[in-house]
């Protein structure tokens, strides 16, 4: 039988709560008792168990992550960063995949509540009032990554989507392109969709290329949808020579479409992606893209949540991380 806190208390001749205090706030226990407890822990090779710890301290040393799509390569890198931060900070990480389904998301909050996670990271999703109410009702501290809330004062970390999109489009313009299209997120509740459209528009206006403003087609989060959106874009605007895609997976879908139509990338059309997922450097051609610090976003969000859980607040509420244009093979001078 595994020794319990009860066995330790019995051997040391103290109460269970004294053993617990020795483990969690040793300075509150007089030395003689403390030494007896430590001897008993040593002797019995006692390992505290998180259930008991949870009941006493309401801490489970677990963080929860709500991720909209576990198969999206963007989240793989983010989870890795988050996990590494959790290792450093002493948490386990429990990941749940919501499939962008709000009922599923709400039921996961219930599940996290039941498991008494110490805090939750909400990735990419909008913070709807029903999510907020549920989280606040469950009294679970939470932060947002690759997202933010305009309506509530919730810690978040993300890149500057507007500025990043602007940089991508400006780069295409500086290569000499004058007919520029965009494949954007069509998700009605997309957080990063609107600012990336704004960045596209700002660059076009600034360089007197406003005639391109209407050349935007929308796709959901998968490759196949971007393939179809590209078909619409090029059917309607066949003279397009450059496309800004708001995700690397969209850039792959666009290039795949063009390849199937025997249009050369970058020979005839230049394509810029967004994210710099691990696959971006493997694709043929290798993608020119806006790199998000994906690993760092995940890492930082876990640190931010830890700060919130342990101190009740964070130093910087809306943190921004730097993006960076990475030029590879999918773009060329016009």
């Amino acid at each position: 039988m595994k020794p319990t806190i009860r066995d330790v208390a019995k051997m040391a001749g103290v109460s269970i709560s004294t053993v617990s205090r020795v483990m969690n706030a040793p300075e509150t226990v007089v030395e003689s008792k403390r030494l007896r407890v430590l001897d008993a822990i040593e002797e019995l090779q006692y390992q505290p168990n998180s259930f008991a710890r949870g009941l006493i301290y309401r801490k489970s040393y677990t963080l929860g992550l709500l991720v909209p799509d576990i198969e999206n390569m963007y989240y793989a890198g983010m989870i890795r960063g988050m996990q590494d931060a959790c290792i450093k900070l002493g948490y386990g990480l429990m990941i749940c995949n919501t499939d962008r389904d709000s009922e599923r998301l709400l039921s996961y909050i219930d599940a996290f509540h039941e498991k008494q996670v110490d805090g939750i990271v909400l990735a990419s999703d909008m913070l709807f009032p029903e999510y907020y109410d549920k989280l606040v009702g469950c009294r679970i501290p939470f932060v947002m990554v690759s997202s933010h809330s305009d309506d509530y004062d919730i810690p978040s970390v993300e890149v500057d989507d507007e500025a990043a999109a602007y940089d991508a489009v400006k780069f295409l313009i500086e290569l000499g392109h004058k007919q520029i299209g965009m494949i954007g997120f069509n998700h009605a509740n997309s957080i990063s969709g609107p600012p990336r459209c704004e960045g596209f528009a700002r660059a076009l206006r600034e360089f007197g290329l406003g005639h391109n403003l209407e050349k935007v087609k929308y796709a959901s989060h998968r490759f196949e949808h971007a393939y179809e959106a590209s078909h619409e874009l090029f059917s309607q605007y066949p003279d397009t020579t450059a496309v800004f895609c708001v995700a690397d997976e969209f850039a792959m879908g666009t290039i795949s479409y063009l390849k199937d139509r025997n249009v050369l990338v970058p020979g005839q059309v230049s394509v810029v992606g967004f994210d710099n997922i691990r696959m971006a450097g493997m694709f043929i051609p290798k993608l020119t893209t806006i790199a998000q610090p994906i690993y760092e976003l995940g890492y930082r969000s876990a640190e931010q949540l830890h700060e919130l859980v342990t101190t009740g607040s964070v130093n910087v509420t809306r943190e921004k991380m730097r993006h960076k244009l990475i030029v590879r093979e999918s773009t060329r001078e016009r």
Copy 2:
């Protein structure tokens, strides 16, 4: 204040253990008491919490997954299947990324033990004696997915790697290829590496092409390593016209290498992958590959673990799932 089991017991005028029995084994409670408890639960909107449940029943309703590389696209689909099974079966899924580091893996078993997961799925890794001893020492039921153990009697689910590799190579031979190479797993402790080599060898021998047996180069799990391995293969055997790669990511690395050397795929060289990750259909050219039922492997392993956790054994210890050759664009008749 959230109502506790204590509040329910008080309102119903019964003991706490009666409330617990009503929730977990209602047939053991006389009807009059049962109805009083159910009324109180309803009235108070009581939600049982898993810590308390865990202390009473030693069940946490959580499964743990040890995955060797969260950034490997193979695991994204598997996690998705596992998660869907967990939803159906009422478990949370806690995922930990081991980076194929045995110390990290052992420390995660400790963490899972501390959180008292009901069971663990070990993905792809070898079951070393130290892992086995640790898991048995912690009394955590576990199963293996995309792996198996020859030394221990542990439930597992995977494809038939030897037969799948054989099918891939036979397909290349039937296309008329006579100079065939292979990019295999170089990981000393790879589970699927050796049988895939054996399948390669069996097909070659069967068709009198034994002169190709030595044309095997090895790579670790990433794209870049396969790129280098291809360089070795084609430097040493420049007349190679077909390559069997034991992972889709290796096929992408091989194609990328050939592309950089201006060798056409499939025009001059045919390439077959393995796995059928989501990316396989997006790549240029789209990959011909051996499809593993990735989602189903994940789903089935969670079901198997549930069976083990709830009944103490499984019906079929070493389950095999079917693979399937999917012909796309990266192969052509010689």
